[in-house]
């Protein structure tokens, strides 16, 4: 990627996990420093819909966008 492209989008990209809120700033307060090489980042999570307490307990999270159930790979399939 060209280093210039970073300066065109100095903020974090919009949160990828909030389809209902495409215009929501992805950093609280609005401005996040530019992404830098050799740094690790995780997209910010925003408060959205939540599961009921009982469903949250059963699933391990109250946040639908964080839910990622594990499916056991079929025999012979590598899980690498």
């Amino acid at each position: 990627m060209h280093s210039n492209e970073y300066h065109l989008t100095p903020n974090y990209p919009y949160a990828p996990n909030l389809p209902g809120h495409p215009n929501k700033q992805s950093y609280p307060g609005g401005s996040m420093p530019p992404l830098q090489l050799a740094h690790a980042y995780v997209p910010w999570q925003h408060m959205g819909n939540i599961f009921s307490p009982a469903e949250g307990l059963a699933r391990g999270t109250i946040f639908p966008e964080l839910l990622s159930p594990y499916s056991v790979p079929k025999r012979g399939e590598s899980n690498g």
């Binding site: 980042y41 995780v42 391990g60 964080l66 594990y70």
Partner: protein, 190 residues
Amino acid sequence: MWVYQKKLEYPVRVSGPNPKLAKVIITQYGGPDGELSASLRYLNQRYSMPTDKAKGLLTDIGTEEMAHMEIVATIFYKLTRGVSPEQMQAAGLGGHYAQHNHALFWSDPNGVPWIASYVQATGDPITDLTEDMAAEQKARSTYEHLIQLSDDPCVTDVLRFLREREVVHFQRFGEALNDVQNYLSCKKVF
């Protein structure tokens, strides 16, 4: 200080005695990527975090990992309850029985005892939070291996809960890393 609630974070039921399954699940009690490692790592690293938010997060997640250690202990205890020494031996838990009877002990499935060198605290918050994110992924992978090894649907259900918690913790540590990197770069400017 802590406030103890006399219940598990997630209820533990087992279908019946299963020392073979207990033998592998012990890794999340006292193995390298288990819950003892996780809780002690976070509760120890929190002192050298630069922001109150990061300190608070490590306290919260470290506390939850202690609750997970208790869940894993309960699984092992229930899977080996009433199991005879001969059955323990046949399941590969002869060494465990010789040293610990039906008591719990922090070891991995091969009997290697827990050691403090499974965890680190460098005093560099970026390094430590990156270790914490790796630790969550290692715990997630281990739970996936255990789910594959489990032949007890009740135990698998608990393992799935614990695995999902690691996914949530990874997100929180990632957000803490964003935050701390931002804090440290602001500090450099002013």
